[in-house]
Each structure stands twice: as C-alpha cells, then as structure tokens.
C-alpha cells in the first residue's frame, strides 16, 4: 500500500463523480485540441492552397482586395472584369517568367447534388495555366483539341459530383451550350478539384465576356523583383495587384475574429473545468474530513495528505486529458465540416491537424490543470488539525 494506490482507491470509491469530473476536463481538452489542431491545420492548408496556385502575384480588376483574394482562392462568381489588354501588356514584361489569364464564373444548376441544386464553377484558361501547375496530372483524357473547342476538363471532385467520364456531355444551365468532357484532373487537394475548366475563348463566348478576364496569375523570374513589379503595376488604371503573401495574411485576418471567439470558448471551457475539478475535490475533502483526521492521527504528515489529494486531482485531469484527446481525434471530421461551413474561406484538404506533439502538450496541460485545481483543496486538507478533523460531525 502506498499513497498512489490510496489515491486510486479513493477515486474508485465514487466512480460516477470521478467520471463526471473527468468528463468536464475531457470536453475542455477536446475543444482545446480541436481548436489548436484547426489553427495549425488551417494555416498549413492555406499555405498549401496558395503554393499550389503556382503564381506569386494576382492581378484583378479594382475592387475590394479582400473579396478578390478570397474569391480567387475559393472560387465563385461576382468577380469584377478587366480588359484582356492588361494581360497583353504585362505579358511583355521581361521580369515575368510565366503568366496565365483566367475568367471565372458560377452557374446555379438545379439538378446538381442529386436534385438539391448547387453552384457549378467554371474557369476559362489557357495552356499556361497548366505550366504554372506542373504537379497537376490527368486522371483521364487530355488537353482541349483547340483554343476555342466546346470542351471541358473537369476537376476530380467536379467529375465525381457530376458523374462524368471522358466523352460525356456537359450542359450549362441557362447558356444553351453543350460541351464535351475531354479530360479529368487527378485530385490536388485544392479548389481546382471542384472546377470545370474550358478554353478561355470558349468561356468568353459562352458567358458573353469577350476580351474580359477576372484574374491574371503571374510568376516572376526573380522573386526579389516582386516589390518593384507590384509598384509598377499600381500605376495601371482599373486593376489591383495582390501578392499571394498578402492573400495569406488577408485570409488569416479574415478568420482571426472567428479564432478569437473560438479560442475564448476554449479558455472558458478550461476555466470551467478548473473550477469544476476544484469544487469536486473540495467537496470530497469536506466529506472525508474525519478520515483525514484519522490518517493524521495514525501518522500521516500534512504533506502526505497534500500528496494524496493532489494525486487524486491529477489522476482525474489525466483521465480527462486522455479521454479529451480521444474525443478530439474521433470528432476531427465533424469539427472540420463545421468550420468549413461557417468560415468565409476554407482551404482544401485536411483542416484539423492534430500532431503527436499537440496530444502530448494537451496531456501535460491537463496534468498542469490538475495540479493547479488540486492545490487549494490539497492545502485545505493538509492544514486540517487532526483533533478538529476527528471531532467534525460529532
């Protein structure tokens, strides 16, 4: 028999109370791990999305740069248009390594998603788009037969959703146009997976935007020229220049207020858990006042009593920490889907990134919470005078 075993046995004495208290800690730990996992995962996914765009600078028509950045990343209609002359001018700049014009729009399709309806996103591109994304591979098929062919290449998820294969026909609602599927890209884990691509000219014809673009992606020969390059483009009328480093910062700013809210919830959850544990252990100490007095009478020092109570609290929090981690791992997909619904922009791929380091840190955190929560009850118990404790309740 030792104090460790005694602490275990004391907790086993009131199983329901122990599990309920550990449950409170588990919820707090699960929330915290999920949020921290999301924080790390979101930044990672955003970085991956931006890197996979393949260009460093994006030129769009003048408007809200935040909106433009978000729309370019997540896709969607409502982008402003600029003249293709801008592209024709920038393409001659000797600092430009690669450049690609884009025209993006969305169309509501009532038959999409098994009749529930939904927006299909279309993008007009040129061959340069693929040159900027050398990692992009075909799952099936190939590039368009000509620059103005009535053909589409579908992103992996778009093809899955539409259940289309090579040679199948695509009908764009409201546009009275039928196109043929000529290629399907492999999964990239980015927004490209959900897009239906077609030749730029075809897109301009179908959407009646002749000579118009929504964006120009640019990769420079020397990244150190980026500031000077941006400066030069600021003088061009009707356009705005967004570096993708800015986009990253912009989107992180956009979600920062949501993060403040969710982190506040996590902090409150931890605070409530600390109070809950402290209250439970304190009640348990009061219930066992006489027992503590007897233990002191038969030789327990104040430190022995302190250790027993502290160990009990730490065990509860450790149990809560382990359970919380299991919950966080198990509920990762639910958390991810919830965030994807509520956030203005969610990058593709996995958003909740729970690392072994995070799990270990959360366990250590739970133990620390136990130590802090147990401090006051343990001190109360340790400071009891044995004679008063034995007499209590008489």
């Amino acid at each position: 028999m030792n104090l460790l075993k005694l602490a275990f046995k004391n907790l086993a004495r009131k199983k329901i109370r122990t599990f309920l208290t550990a449950g409170g800690v588990a919820v707090a730990v699960a929330v915290l791990v999920s949020l921290l996992g999301f924080d790390a995962g979101y930044q990672k996914a955003l970085g991956r999305d931006i890197d996979k765009m393949g260009y460093q600078v994006l030129v769009t028509a003048k408007g809200c740069p935040y909106e433009a950045a978000t729309l370019m990343l997540k896709g969607g209609g409502g982008l402003r248009y600029m003249d293709q002359d801008v592209y024709n001018k920038i393409v001659k700049d000797p600092r430009v390594d690669m450049i690609t014009p884009q025209l993006v729009d969305t169309v509501y399709d009532p038959d999409r998603q098994e009749g529930q309806g939904g927006y299909a996103m279309y993008m007009g591109i040129e061959k340069s788009y693929r040159k900027l994304k050398p990692w992009s591979k075909y799952k099936d098929g190939d590039w368009f037969s000509s620059d103005s062919a009535d053909e589409v290449i579908m992103g992996y998820e778009a093809a899955e959703v539409e259940q289309r294969h090579i040679g199948d026909k695509i009908f764009i609602p409201g546009k009275n146009k039928v196109l043929t599927v000529t290629g399907i890209f492999e999964r990239t884990g980015t927004q490209d997976d959900g897009i239906i691509f077609m030749p730029l000219k075809t897109m301009q014809d179908i959407f009646d935007q002749h000579g118009k673009l929504t964006g120009i992606g640019i990769k420079l020969k020397d990244i150190s020229d980026i500031s000077e390059f941006e400066e030069d483009l600021y003088d061009e009328p009707g356009i705005q220049v967004i570096s993708l480093a800015q986009v990253r910062g912009t989107i992180l700013n956009l979600i920062s207020s949501a993060k403040v809210m969710t982190n506040s919830v996590a902090v409150i959850a931890v605070f409530i858990a600390v109070i809950g544990v402290t209250n439970t252990i304190l009640m348990s100490v009061f219930e066992r006042t006489k027992e503590i007095g007897v233990m002191k009478a038969i030789g327990a020092s104040s430190f022995d009593i302190f250790k027993v109570i502290w160990l009990e609290t730490t065990f509860i929090c450790l149990l809560g920490g382990i359970t919380g981690n299991i919950i966080a791992l198990a509920a990762g997909n639910i958390v991810e889907n919830t965030f994807k619904k509520i956030l203005p922009y969610a990058p593709g791929g996995k958003l909740v990134y729970i690392t072994p380091l995070l799990l270990i840190a959360s366990l250590l955190g739970a133990i620390a919470v136990g130590m802090i929560s147990g401090m006051y009850p343990a001190l109360r118990a340790a400071s009891m005078r044995p004679v008063n404790a034995i007499k209590s309740g008489e």
Binding site: M1, L6, E291, G299
Partner: protein
C-alpha cells in the same frame, strides 16, 4: 516497576468562547508507566476524550507540563507531534474509522506506510491472527461485522509496534458480548505483549477490568 511513559503535571486545556472560558482539563496530574492498562471513566463532558487527544499528541495543552516518551511535549507544534505519534502511538476509535475503500489488510498496510515502517506480509497476517481475524483480511469494512471492524482497527493500532495504544470508547458501537471480547483482547495484549493501553470508556463493567481506573469529573481527577 517500569519507568514513566507519560508524566502530566497540573495540565489544563482551556476552550475560550465569547461567553465563557471552559477548562475541559483542569489542573490534572497523571503518571502512566510502561505496561499499564488504564481505564479513564467519567460522565459525559468530564474531559475524557480531551485528555485522550492530549495524550495522543493530537491536541496541545493550555497550561502545565506534559512529558511523554522522555520528551517535554507541552509546546510542540503539529509538525513535531506527528513524528511522536508516528513512532509511539496507536489509536483505536469508537466508530473504527477504517478507510472504506481499502481491505482490512490494506488498512493495516496504509498505517505502516504512514508510520514509515515496513513489515512482511506474513508478519501482518500473524498480527491479524493475534487479534482474532485470521480469515477475513481481504474483505473491505462494509463486509465485516462491528466486532471484526474493531479487530482490524486494533491490528492497525498495533501494526507499527507503538509504545502506547489509546482507545476512545472502543466498545461504544458494539453489543455487550462483542464488547467483552474486544476488551478482553486489549487486556490480553497488555498482558502478553506488554502493550501500554489507555482506554476511555463509559462501561463500568469493562472499565474495572483495567489495572488502573482513573475517574474524571469536570476535567479533574476524582480518585
């Protein structure tokens, strides 16, 4: 004749409330020798339990001088008193005060752990046999009768081989037959093991079986 284990000279224990001062122990002189079996008797409120708590180093005296185990403990603090209790004193309580989640054996092992003493499992089993509880040592208190619980409490008090055993109404919660058995066990331990035992009891028929009887009234010795 054995030397004095406890020597109390004119000791007081005073409780001060808003309205009055109460001397629970009121100028008491006492001399307990090694191997004594002493009954402390008296009516309720006579100061029996207070005296037992003082002799158990659970409470300080308010005045006078108290020597125990060759040390003046009159003004010792709790940190020092716990060491004296751990080395020298075993307690038996009226309502047993066993740890409910631990078996009889574990209750005794815990007492040894707290007293920083080690004993082989065989020695502990022998100790249970000595107190008449050989077969139920792996039962938790709720599975034991009152008499069996008190035997576990006695085994716990004896576990660390203390110089002094203090029993506060050890038969108070037991029927008369079990009370007699438990008291005879204490008498037998005193005779065979030469344990020094002080018993607080209300029960006249049991109390008079001790070698010495101390009667208290209003915190003072009557005899």
């Amino acid at each position: 004749m054995n030397g004095p284990l406890i020597k109390a000279e004119n000791i007081y224990k005073t409780y001060v409330s808003k309205a009055e001062k109460i001397n629970a122990v009121n100028g008491l002189d006492l001399d307990i020798r090694t191997g004594d079996l002493v009954s402390i008797m008296g009516p309720s409120g006579s100061g029996k339990t207070t005296l037992l708590h003082i002799l158990g180093c659970l409470d300080n005296i308010s005045g006078g001088k108290l020597e125990m185990f060759g040390e003046d403990i009159s003004a010792k603090k709790e940190g020092e008193l716990v060491n004296i209790r751990r080395k020298n004193i075993g307690f038996i309580f009226q309502d047993f005060h066993l740890i409910s989640s631990l078996t009889a054996l574990e209750n005794v092992e815990l007492a040894l752990c707290l007293a920083r003493k080690k004993r082989d499992r065989e020695e502990i089993v022998d100790l249970f046999a000595k107190v008449g509880l050989g077969k139920r040592i792996n039962h938790v208190p709720k599975e034991l009768s009152g008499g069996e619980k008190q035997r576990v409490a006695i085994a716990r008090a004896l576990a660390a081989s203390p110089k002094l055993i203090l029993a506060d109404e050890p038969t108070g919660d037991l029927d008369s037959k079990t009370s007699m058995d438990i008291f005879e066990l204490l008498v037998s331990l005193n005779e065979k093991e030469k344990s020094t035992i002080i018993v607080v009891t209300h029960d006249e028929t049991l109390g008079v079986k001790a070698k010495r009887v101390i009667r208290l009234k209003d915190g003072k010795l009557q005899n």
